[in-house]
Symmetry: C2
Subunit: 422 residues, 2 copies
């Protein structure tokens, strides 16, 4: 069996729910990112429905062009889950019961106190010769089939919370055996500059660099620079990559980099507080718990995050936090003064070292002439000082965007205060 | 030129940034949803890179199978934007300058005070015979080409904030001229049963029904049944659809349906409270603000959601909410007693009609022998009663999943208490 490196990959996602637009296809983006990091080029992504003829046609088409096909979906227990059977047919293999998988599925149902049904047993049937990857995150095992030409089809369960860890923990090591170049990436996370401004600041020779490459991309409220270096061994690729990162940090944009390879600003903030042995709390109005949620997403945050108050209705700001009613009357509840007072009061209510507060108009309703929808006041208080800022996130943006960006910017402000940059 | 209804559509998205996984493909989901509502079946979605040969190949393949092809991307000003030129070549048409488009682009740059560059003029070049849809949201016009067989290729700009309004406002009316059947869908939202259990409960004749169809799919913590009916006019399709929905609600699974066509359980709960003129608050530990966030995602929630407390560290449960320390000492902070007390105390702290509380082990750390990671106690308190439940979400599930499902289940419990089902 040929064991040459994979040259071309295609991604084929199975599921009628994708074709009717019920679900956004995050699996294709995730798998593409992981393959890119392995140095395997993705030339096509496709989605096909739960139809055996069209599925077989697309598997054959992919195998006519690529040596690696990653598939997701169609491994469930229901009558329209047909991925394994179809790929087995294309490969000319029969199906058989895989006993270790059957035992795992039975144990899973027993442990969660649910009743296993007959159709769950289907999930333990495998094409002959399949390499089976047990699934710790759900019932359907993932699997891979290789043919005599060295082509590989990998089949993964559809739900992203199963597919992503399964791919990372089991499928990637399996694929790595056939990869010859190592890619190392670092992501620089930037808050406070827009994408075109960041791109303008990059000298031409860095923008045009072929190895490492520097690629800007956006997530709400942030710009990120992905630096990717390729070499035949990891230490060389790492050195190349880190060298470019140093060059970027030395530029003026370096000041706006809040973290490197951190999942997000919340992880950076919790880490920075933990390093310093400090604690924090939140006082949220328009962001409604989103900042607290982001901070408590961070595993191990309980030594740092005391808690927070979501004082959504105006009176709760006074009842729960003790915000001065006179300030609310004088400046309205969406104001710099009220944001600052919320932060200061949260500091003592929770007896912490740092507090973040937000108050604003997330829309679609609300807003005034001077403070339209999209106006959010954020404040950060420590024992020594209070910092605050008025954000103008755009009246045409939707509620979810305004809440998301306000949360990210507030967390970044707290990082800035903590590090003495603000 | 034939003007029969579109039978089969394919979606083809152009862009190397999609193939390297930088961007999640929301356009495919959006266009698929809109086509589904028009009664046009989508049989494939595909993504191809900015490569003229592969792009031409994929356009030809789509036209060999479908009578409508919706494309996105590749309409920009740069050298790798090739969609129009490639489709024109496949159709055997030349390109020509479309003066109204050129004038619009020049005016757009003048109005925003930016300098137009030579390559922007490319965006006004059109295949001969193209139907042009002017773009109020960006520079590149959308367009459609029809051939003598009645096949249509529509080309839209890549950015979703341009594609979505353009499609809705201009392309849909154009497509509607060739649609004869109307589809009506209803989504039944189910909490408390797994997907295979729901499928087991469906009688064969409903599962196999061809019109309306009944299709199960999942989102974390929920199972949904989409019922879709097709007819030549809307009232007929609606009647067919509603008839099937009634049949489903009459089955045992009907009890587990918390809402129909609601965005999620939080929307259903806020709506149910608003109908009754009631208010609510949250007291969250392990879910860390996620329940408050979901509730405040609902536009117009401010008449219903007073706020919430995120009492993440143990002492905050007593300091902020007034939870009885003796209960914490006797039962530990993750217990049914503490969850119930948190809910009761939140009821009075915020002076509301209903309160939701959570306390649990979201992992990866924590847990005990009797209450491993994934154990979450949820409680709902009203002036009349307190309901509570111990959830067992699986030690192997990740933190995000445990928090997400605990939040959804807690909100569903509140709905059940409110409606008198629990």
């Amino acid at each position: 069996m040929k064991q040459s490196p994979f040259e071309r990959a295609e991604i084929l996602c199975v599921g009628t729910e994708l074709l009717i637009g019920d679900i956004v296809n995050t699996n294709a983006a995730y798998l593409s990112r992981r393959l890119a990091a392995l140095g395997i080029g993705v030339y096509r992504q496709a989605v096909v429905g739960d139809n055996p003829e069209r599925l077989a046609e697309d598997v054959r088409t992919a195998l006519s062009r690529a040596d690696l096909v990653l598939m997701s979906g169609g491994l469930g227990p229901t009558y329209d889950d047909l991925t394994k059977e179809t790929v087995a047919r294309v490969f000319g293999r029969g199906m058989q019961m895989h006993t270790p998988s059957l035992e795992r599925i039975e144990a899973y149902f027993a442990a969660t106190g649910r009743t296993m049904t007959e159709n769950n047993k289907k999930q333990a049937m495998m094409p002959k010769g399949a390499i089976v990857f047990p699934n710790d995150y759900g019932t359907a095992p993932a699997l891979a089939l290789e043919n005599e030409r060295g082509q590989v089809v990998v089949m993964l369960p559809g739900p992203p919370r199963e597919l992503e860890p399964l791919f990372r923990e089991q499928v990637e090591p399996y694929l790595k055996k056939r990869c010859v170049s190592i890619l190392v990436s670092r992501n620089l996370h930037i808050i406070g500059m827009g994408e075109s401004a960041v791109e303008n600041e990059l000298p031409k020779e860095l923008k045009d660099s072929e190895n490492p490459t520097v690629a800007p991309y956006c997530v709400p409220g942030e710009v990120r620079l992905r630096v990717t270096a390729k070499a035949s061994c990891e230490s060389q690729a790492t050195a190349l990559c880190d060298g470019m990162v140093e060059q970027l940090l030395a530029l003026p944009i370096g000041e706006f980099v809040y973290g490197i390879d951190v999942p997000d600003a919340a992880h950076a903030l919790v880490g920075a507080l933990a390093e310093r042995g400090l604690t924090m709390a939140t006082a949220e109005s328009c962001t409604g718990g989103l900042i607290a949620k982001k901070l408590t997403d961070v595993a191990g945050c309980s030594s740092v995050v005391a808690g927070g108050a979501v004082t959504y209705q105006t009176r709760e700001k006074t009842r729960i936090l003790g915000v001065d009613e006179a300030l609310i009357e004088a400046h309205t509840v969406v104001s710099d003064s009220v944001a600052r007072d919320m932060a200061v009061k949260a500091l003592s209510a929770f007896d912490v070292d740092l507090a973040i507060a937000t108050t604003g108009y997330a829309g679609p309703g609300g807003g005034t002439e001077t403070d339209p929808v999209g106006t959010v006041y954020v404040a950060v208080a420590t024992k020594d000082r209070v910092a605050s800022e008025r954000l103008s996130l755009g009246a045409r943006r939707d509620r979810a965007y305004i809440r998301e960006v306000a949360s990210v910017r507030a967390i970044a402000m707290a990082l800035g205060v903590l590090r003495g940059n603000l």
